[in-house]
Symmetry: C2
Subunit: 293 residues, 2 copies
Amino acid sequence: MDSLIEYLDGKRQLVNTQLENYVTANTDEGRVRDAMLYSIEAGGKRLRPILLLATIEAFRGNPSKGLPVACALEMIHTYSLIHDDLPAMDNDDVRRGQPTNHKKFDEATAILAGDALLTLSFQIITDSNDLTNDEKVFIVRELSKASGPKGMVNGQMKDMQYENHDIPLRELEDIHRQKTGRLLNFAVLSGAYLAEADDQVMDNLTAMAGALGLIFQIQDDILDVVGDSHAIGKPIGSDEGNNKSTYPQLLGLEGAIAQKDGYVEVAQNALHESGINGTTLSELIDYLSSRDR
Amino acid sequence: MDSLIEYLDGKRQLVNTQLENYVTANTDEGRVRDAMLYSIEAGGKRLRPILLLATIEAFRGNPSKGLPVACALEMIHTYSLIHDDLPAMDNDDVRRGQPTNHKKFDEATAILAGDALLTLSFQIITDSNDLTNDEKVFIVRELSKASGPKGMVNGQMKDMQYENHDIPLRELEDIHRQKTGRLLNFAVLSGAYLAEADDQVMDNLTAMAGALGLIFQIQDDILDVVGDSHAIGKPIGSDEGNNKSTYPQLLGLEGAIAQKDGYVEVAQNALHESGINGTTLSELIDYLSSRDR
């Protein structure tokens, strides 16, 4: 696990540096840039970019093709956090231990910084010198599908509609599959595509990514009950305060852990079935399942 | 002018039908789709798509290449209106004679519908069967640049920052060049690109588009002073209420009209210099300068 931590740190640093470069190079001085950089520099696990880069490496693909796509993906994730935190949405004041974008700046700036990050993500893909035009078209298409009105945005809408309502587990998982699963799936899918994986491998990796998204979400819910607020950077119990349905609430804490362990097995099996050299990916699955932040 | 009105109606209908098709085909039933369709179906002049299609026609280019790009462009324009109308931004309750998106739905839905339209615009370009991959990459790159943090988004940010402040004409024009000019410029640029125009023609058309954007904005400001609130679909004097700097305020009504006439001459000359068959474009310039809504 120590070597995985080092691996994660290295990749995180690579992604952070490149993200800052992209934002600085493609914005004018001023408030929009400041607000974009604020949320980009607020840190975060960089899980999606790392998953993408680790997938390319598992196929011994060209890592330079992965970096612009990884950064575009993280920009979209970051924009979604900025908009989700707004008062009209989840109304969160703190993220990663710091004021959310609209608390640090104001609502108008936060809306625009989110819009700008979303837009810039497609620009940096098409601007890249490391991708062919065929690759750029594939990536823009899949990334927009994953994050658009049949993907992440729809998941967030349903998440809000179910606030203050009881929700069956099946519906809850559908929401998570759209809201967080689609981007995680894109990370694996695009990494495999850029490394020229064949179709059967893709199917297995899609299954792995699907399980991974739910592992990630269940652990999020678990940490909101039993986690350390300092480590996770927001108050414990905020899901309950927001009247959000969670796994522990629907299944109990033990039940949620059992559900998560089931998905870990699904993910590990699918990865094994794919036949690729997935040591890092396998470690990542365990890491995400047991993370404390 | 009668034939221009017919031309505009025909193109508007073509674009409206295709926009609805795109939204319906690429969304799930539910609140996000409803809110997207609400703003898409609220009408509007469809100026940007029409300018794009008219430019392609001026070069006798393939109009089927223009339609997906025209619709993507209008989706981005529509998303920007939805977000600009939000309480945290311009706080407008009425647009085109109807409740704004967040009044009809709610703020969260309006934010997400805007995000979804922005994202979908890039998807429909990359999904199109009528464009080559090279064309798709060019279009996504230029459209994201025009609408992103060095373009439209930055213009809106500056517009908000100057609210309640006196602003010199030079600054005001810089804002308009970013906020509305960049998308109008994209319409002409992408139309000419898809019709395989050469570089010198492009330079003239860029000059024309630049002037056209300012003509459009000055006439907007003039209509806010002397227009018919029923025709323009919002109350007269709303700029003053919002403490926005306008041409009539900076130059007087006569001065604003003279300024506009100057830009009409610039636009007509640049079009003439380009040497293309620009009858419709020339009529469009005059129409935009004298429109009453």
